[in-house]
Symmetry: C2
Subunit: 364 residues, 2 copies
């Protein structure tokens, strides 16, 4: 099948770029002695998780129990659920997963730890736990210092839990400019302090798990870090480009779209909007645009409805007709993938494989 | 099953409110002699489409050929594809649908009309066509006047097409305040002019199809309108409330979510973010919030990541603990529904039915 036969809108992955991204991060992790446990939230695909494992990933990361259930098919030695799992229904399912592979959960409350311990005891399994610390994002994670030590001590005491170390997510660092690099240095100092606290308290922190795609290639500069969990790096997206962590040429995934209307002068409408790209804006700017047109970098994808993308062509330097096809690099690939049932893997003009987005819409 | 047994995050529809919304719009359309052809993009459910037909809808509207294929199961007498269908693959599928029920397409280019005519001839079916006019949104639709007349005349001449009238979408009218009502009056004037042009040119405009949920109950004031295509009215959402077209009490759909972290004082994190709600912002304001918390209207849902909702509780007047559950009315229900595999229909505290989102993610 030729790329021209793919019906639009469709999610297309350039396999050469994808494989290069995979190899590059695997080699970076190996070189710096960092354990690579990629987050599967980006691709949500068993097939791609298998490739990550084959190329050197020591385990997988997921955000949901349903994702953990699905990713078992990739046969990981180790699954990290980087999300506090709350409630008996989910915990019962999680312990089933823990009966099939080693499971670790990152959490930030003794409430969550106690519920997890109860569920693990009922199912007679052991579950690893990382104490989540807030490294600056202000999302989940307890404050460094006394709250973090207390959480770790609580986890250590609970039956059927294995205290496995620390987790954090440096999502507050969105760019690698001066202020981003200063924030990275602060993060490193923070971790040095935390690890000092833990040593003083006699608590062993086996794993220190962090890392995001924007900060990826600076992970070795973060004091004490043992594990990275990047997700987006497999495909990259406009946010990654703008963060400074990759170039446009490293973006493996594009949305293939068709021009459906040119009725208004200086504008065209493509057959994808918020149900195809998601309405995520760029992370680093107040400017409202929704993607980069490969065929016309000067075009401005400035507005969307559910099934319509509005492209301003005033500065596009190119004209388009109804029926023309364009490729768009989205702002945020993770949310875009979740809107698609399948992905076309292409090499040059040839569709080499088509894979399902296995964990699409698995919310619970 | 009790509501308390639903695992979160989940999309929950209050059946009493849903049925009231359904009856209210059916009765409004009947009273004013308007044909009701609801847009199924909001619920994407065959079951709900059947209920719309049973309560008086004369047909259904869809945006995609895949949605048309799925909605055939609701046995509509009539399907409107309110989107220019471009490309041979889609057109071949569309003619298959046209072999099973009456199909009409809204389009805005002679290119699209010619492709459609060719496909209809090849399949030996007849397809109705509405000429799409830009009524102020600046999306699809040709300009009123000569371009519109020329499009209609081109459609009339093409074999296997039946010129069925005009379509427009008044999506530029987002609120029913003074300026919204003035825009409605302008729209009415515009249509009066267009219909005059068509009469003068001897072209019969059988159907004049318009209507959106915000302008819904003013449809009878729009000159010449014969058909309305509201979608959101079945559930309503915060945008509909803010447009003035409904009250909070008319919102049938909420996202049920669980508090997973309260580690940061004055804030809680719920287990739904952009992959649960979509990142659509409110349509009428620059204020960035993502939903209304039923249990704490003063809480501010101001930020999200993929699986995390950030709720600022500074002015909530209520405290929450990890494990608590909250209901959130989303900004835009259509994009939220598309993120869910199923919907829980509840009456009081009881789950009465669970239905699949049949056309979820059907992009082509």
């Amino acid at each position: 099948m030729d790329v021209s036969e793919i019906d639009t809108p469709a999610l297309v992955v350039d396999l050469d770029i994808f494989e290069r991204n995979l190899a590059c991060v695997a080699s970076y992790a190996r070189e710096h002695g960092l354990r690579l446990r990629p987050h599967t939230k980006t691709h949500k695909s068993v097939r791609l998780a298998r490739r990550q494992i084959a190329s050197g990933a020591a385990g997988l990361t997921v955000a949901k129990v349903s994702e953990a259930e699905i990713m078992l098919a990739a046969e990981p030695d180790d699954l990290l659920v980087a999300y506090p799992i709350i409630g008996h229904t989910k915990l019962a399912r999680l312990t089933q997963v823990a009966g099939r592979t080693r499971v670790t959960v990152a959490l930030d409350s003794t409430f969550a730890a106690r519920q997890l311990s109860d569920a693990a005891r009922a199912a007679q399994v052991e579950i690893g736990v990382l104490a989540e610390v807030d490294a600056g994002l202000g999302r989940v994670g307890v404050a460094p210092g006394e709250p973090l030590l207390q959480l770790a001590q609580a986890i250590e005491k609970l039956p059927h839990l294995r205290f496995a170390g620390l987790a954090f997510y440096p999502g507050h660092i969105k760019t690698l400019d001066g202020s981003g690099l200063r924030a990275l240095a602060q993060l490193s100092d923070l971790l040095r302090g935390i690890l000092g606290d833990f040593r003083a308290a006699g608590i062993e922190t086996g794993t220190v798990s962090g890392g995001s795609t924007p900060t990826l290639f600076h992970s070795h500069e973060i004091h004490g870090l043992t594990e990275i969990r990047p997700g987006t790096y497999v495909f990259n997206d406009l946010n990654t480009v703008r963060s400074g962590a990759c170039a446009l040429e490293d973006c493996a995934a594009t949305i293939l779209a068709t021009v459906v209307s040119t009725a208004r002068p200086g504008q065209m409408i493509i057959d994808g909007g918020s149900k195809t790209f998601s309405s995520d804006r760029l992370a680093d700017t107040a400017e409202v645009t929704f993607g980069h047109l490969v065929e016309a970098p000067g075009a401005r994808f400035h507005k969307m409805n559910e099934e319509h993308g509005f492209i301003d062509l005033s500065h596009a330097g190119a004209g388009f007709s109804v029926g023309d096809r364009v490729r768009v690099i989205p702002n945020h690939i993770c949310v875009a993938v979740n809107l698609h049932e399948k992905v076309y893997g292409v090499r040059g003009d040839l569709v080499e494989e088509v894979w399902p987005v296995d964990a699409r819409g698995k919310l619970q």
